[in-house]
């Protein structure tokens, strides 16, 4: 079964649904670990740094956004770690996923910005194309 699961989230509703599915899969297997990653691009860095008073505050405000998700993982007794990666979302997820070997990548099908998707294509689509491990796209 799937014992190391990579869950890529962006805070959207679809990524919450992806979380639910990842939890279901992880519950099937003892010792399963979910690695939750959220990618921040440089525009987000710019905004976050300007609005945070120092590094500790920055870390805190970022984690706060995913507090309910962490509570949900904890309430289901899931072993997990939450990581923030930096860069363009698609390539960064691919690079991280291919660097470590995961049994499965779980990702939401549509992110926050539909206008961007129209022009640039969706992040999940890019990820599916070049990631080596099996991918579960949740809609």
């Amino acid at each position: 079964m799937y014992s190391t699961i990579l869950l890529a989230i962006d805070g959207s509703k679809n990524s919450l649904r992806a979380t639910t599915e990842a939890v279901k899969l992880a519950s099937l297997q003892e010792n399963a670990v979910i690695t939750v990653v959220h990618v921040l691009d440089i525009t987000q860095s710019k905004y976050d740094v300007l609005h945070a008073q120092g590094k500790a505050d920055l870390e805190l405000t970022r984690r706060k956004k995913f507090l309910s998700m962490e509570e949900y993982l904890q309430s289901n007794n899931i072993t997990y770690k939450l990581l923030f990666l930096h860069g363009e979302p698609g390539p960064t997820i691919v690079e991280y996923a291919n660097q470590k070997s995961f049994d499965l990548l779980v990702i939401g099908s549509r992110g926050l910005n539909s206008l961007q998707e129209l022009v640039l294509g969706s992040v999940s689509h890019k990820v599916i194309k070049s990631v080596k491990c099996p991918v579960l796209v949740v809609k």
Binding site: I42, T43, K46, L50, H51, Q53, G54, L58, H86, L120
Partner: protein
Amino acid sequence: MIEKIKKEWFSNIRGDILSGMVVALALIPEAIAFSIIAGVDPMIGLYASFTMAVVISFTGGRPGMISAATGAMALLMGPLVRDYGLEYLFAATILTGIIQILFGVLKIAKLMKFIPRAVMIGFVNALAILIFMAQVPHLINVTNITYLFVIITLLIVYILPRFLKVIPAPLIAIIILTAVAIVGNVNVSTVGDLGKITQSLPSFFIPNVPFSFETLAIIFPYALALSIVGLLESLLTASIIDDATDTDSNKNREARGQGIANIVTGFFGGMAGCAMIGQSVINVKSGGRGRLSTFVAGVFLMFLIMVLGSLVVQIPMPVLVGIMIMVCIGTFDWSSFKYLVTAPKGDAIVMLVTVIIVVATDNLSIGVIAGVILSAVLFAAKISHVKMHKQETSQGYNYAVEGQLFFASVDSFVQAFDTTIKNKQISINFTNSHVWDDSAVGAIDKIALKLKENQNTVTITGLDSASKKIVDKLAVFPKQNAKLSDH
């Protein structure tokens, strides 16, 4: 040591060279436009961008960050150039470097992290507004063709990057519209109308100013303002790059490095510069990480000017105006409108006051200093006051204390109590408070003893562990027969 040099310079050669070239292309229009804001020849900004980038690639504390001639600095030096001339600008640039080295040595750069975020948000917004206002004269009483050029520029810089990412869109706008203007013989003002481009490397000279106290008195206020604003923008930029690349940087070294870069720039006939958020973001996005990227940006910029200088003078001014409008939109923190509503009132006021003072004085440093002072005053006012919530119960009164209890706030604590009541049960709750010092404990003692004298019973609840420690150690009221005079 060698290991470190290798890592900072040569660990990302391909990415650094490519991104450095992209940055150089993006720097040219901005360096020219910022020169025009400062009221100097385009060469002054171009030379500054060359020397700043090259020197700071060695001396800076944040590999991958781009420093050059900037809008924030250009806005400050306008009056100096207008009233005293170019030589005084070079002298002020050198003095700026000296002050910044002092800031670095005295580790003042590190203190900048204590500048409240409300002031920083105000700073970037004011910067955007000032750059925009500097464009307004180019947009009033001009021909329709000028407006058309501005609009086409804006369309290119906003739409093109969606399809073509490799070449900076502003440069494409420049190439297309300059070609249109030349081929179509269009009547628009050009960079050449505002200054000359010399196709030569900058050379070393000592600014031609009298070495007197009078000169110092003229340039010092400018140099100080430039030092503060330069470091502020650079440290903000460094923090953004730190975060985006998940690495750390040496802020004091950056301050010293920028000082050295400004001294060199002044001696080579450039205007004072600092790090640029926009260009550094472009660099990181294009794959630049190491010092090599900054170095390549400077060198390639100079190379382009040497080769293409004669074309640069033909760039239509409205294209640069369009690019500057794009820079404003990118600089302005658009979430500020939400911030004004959601942030604590004090923070929102500090942000607004910072912006208003900058716009009113045309000086970023005055706005920042005013913002810092105002937030310090608001902080002191807020913290030197505790809120008291009084509640009547069947046997007496409950008091809930909210805020920090220490020597400055004990008055508002003491005044809240009615000490004339008799035979009641009084409870004082500290759940939302913290007891800091012996003045605070003294105030609690004073109130508790006075109430006890009138046959009331007094209970203290909700102290956190640190507060409890100090109260247990210093307070006398819990003891039997304790009197006020014991304290």
